[in-house]
């Protein structure tokens, strides 16, 4: 009925502060993809390394938005595409650590739709694109039941 799960969020609040840092070349790919797909939502995978509570994104892979309907406010990733990205990352000695998507002409919040169709294993970076230009971004960590998401500190190269 409602969006919050108190036990999960309370547990998460007491956990250590987590952060995700995005390297310039990966960031450029993400922003370019988000702006190119405007006014539709874009999506893709983030590859990199995890060190304790810190994640570093070294490359980003744009993916096709596979959502069958109007894509202005929806996206869907093909599991096959993710499987491929995971294989390539493994081959390079790296990990699939996050998913990114854009919110055209909306802020970078984690919507109910985002939450309910997410998965608790990855960081979810949302890029707000306004009028075709990147505006701001945020990263979220969904809980195991997908009833709440914790905000994760996001560091991107400011131009």
């Amino acid at each position: 009925m409602a969006v919050q799960s108190r036990t999960a969020t309370m547990r998460e609040r007491t956990g250590g502060k987590r952060m995700i840092k995005i390297d310039p070349q990966a960031w450029d790919v993400m922003v370019a993809h988000a702006e190119a797909k405007f006014p539709n939502e874009c999506c893709g995978a983030m590859i990199g390394k995890i060190d304790g509570t810190e994640k570093q994104v070294t490359s980003a892979e744009p993916m096709e938005n596979a959502y069958a309907g109007e894509q202005g406010a929806r996206y869907e990733l093909r599991p096959e595409d993710l499987l491929e990205a995971d294989r390539r990352a493994r081959a390079a000695g790296l990990d699939l650590i996050g998913i990114f998507h854009s919110h055209p002409d909306c802020d970078a919040y984690f919507s109910k739709t985002d939450l309910e169709n997410s998965c608790p294993w990855y960081s979810f970076v949302v890029l707000s694109v306004k009028g075709g230009k990147f505006d701001h971004a945020a990263s979220f960590l969904p809980n195991p039941d997908q009833t709440a998401a914790e905000k994760e500190e996001l560091i991107w190269p400011k131009s």
């Binding site: 929806r74 919507s111 985002d114």
Partner: protein, 477 residues
Amino acid sequence: MAKILIPTPLRQYTDKQDSVELTGASVGEVLGALTTKFPDLRKQLFNDEGKLRSFVNVYLNDEDIRYLKKDATPVAASDTLSIVPSIAGGSGDPPVSLSNDEILRYSRHLIMPEVGMEGQLRLKSASVLLVGTGGLGAPLGMYLAAAGVGRIGLVDYDVVDFTNLHRQVIHGTKDVGRKKLDSASDTIADINPNVKIDRHDVLLTSENAMEICANYDLIIDGTDNFPTRYLVNDVSVLLKKPNVYGSIFRFEGQATVFAFPGGPCYRCLYPEPPPPGLVPSCAEGGVLGILPGVIGLIQATEAVKLILGVGETLVGRLVLYDALAMRFRELKLRRNPECPVCGDHPTITKPIDYEQFCGLPRHGGPAVAQASAGDIDPVDVKKMMDHGDKFLLLDVREPHEYLICSIAGAKLIPLGEIEKRVNELDTATEIVAHCKSGVRSAKAVDKLKALGFRKVRNMKGGIIAWSDKVDPSVPKY
């Protein structure tokens, strides 16, 4: 030995291994072996019912096992299993938050840990449908709005009337003659402008109820008639939405929560409606003006608890309130496995014709009791009087009603005393019976006919119609 590739975030449960080799003849067996070896992984992949979580896909080499033989898909030693999540999303449904003004408004909620910020956001995210904005709907609408329920749907097609004002406190004297939807919306917006109000200017029917109710988390029954009550119940069960029920009559009321998963529904309690006319409505039997305040607020309390997910709700318990004795009693209710709508083998799978089910004609048609009698219009009764016709005007109301108003020359014999006092009447004299609105006098006509009277007729619309059509100096009540 088949190989299972472990996604990065799950390696904390597999001693940091990025792949694990396990034996098993099928996908189900291999996954079983995996979670036996690494028990902490179980919760990540499976839900409480032991099924793979909705976002978890398992691939055998390059193929999704859902398109193979699922758990029974055979696994060879050279095969590789991958765990891949389904991921989607979109910017619709932005998350709710409270403005500084709202934080101040709800501060007495926010400082209680049982509500707190999370509870208040739940209230703001919640949507509630009030069926009726009358006696029960009035306190419900006002308090749920004040408490911060985000979206309230109102269903009413009626107009405010003077007789509503002694209990329907959401409407004021200035609102008489206005649509109840308009005056209720104005009151709610004044109490809390943050509430989104959906206006449904219709009678809830079998045709529109599913569509209207589907847009809400909770359905609250504030109706006063059996067809709508059964309709609200069935639709709530069919849509799997809790139905917060309340009813009032004279000095007594009832409240409970129906159609909660696993709990009983209205049909488990009352499989059949009462015969038409047996249970008087508030318009016929009266109601203590304060009573709907008590029952409506019990319903509002249950609604808030259901939204917050706190406390012990009235699921499976019927609260009976007696205002005169000032006593609350409680009855245990159980879901009936034979129930035609919420039972194990339901036979009702969509809304039915509830007027027919309750033995009534379609809405707007004449009442059954009146149709059975020989009717006469008050205007024609007046003509008979003016003409000097010899007939007896028989008032079958109660003595305390007679004291409110009466028609000159009428003889008072309350409906319940007709058999006992029948010797006071003459079968040779023409009789016209009347009551307040024409329902009881129709029964009186039937009784007299059964006792051998031939020349009896029912004054249509009762003393109310008399006041409207013949003599406005007679007060309506």
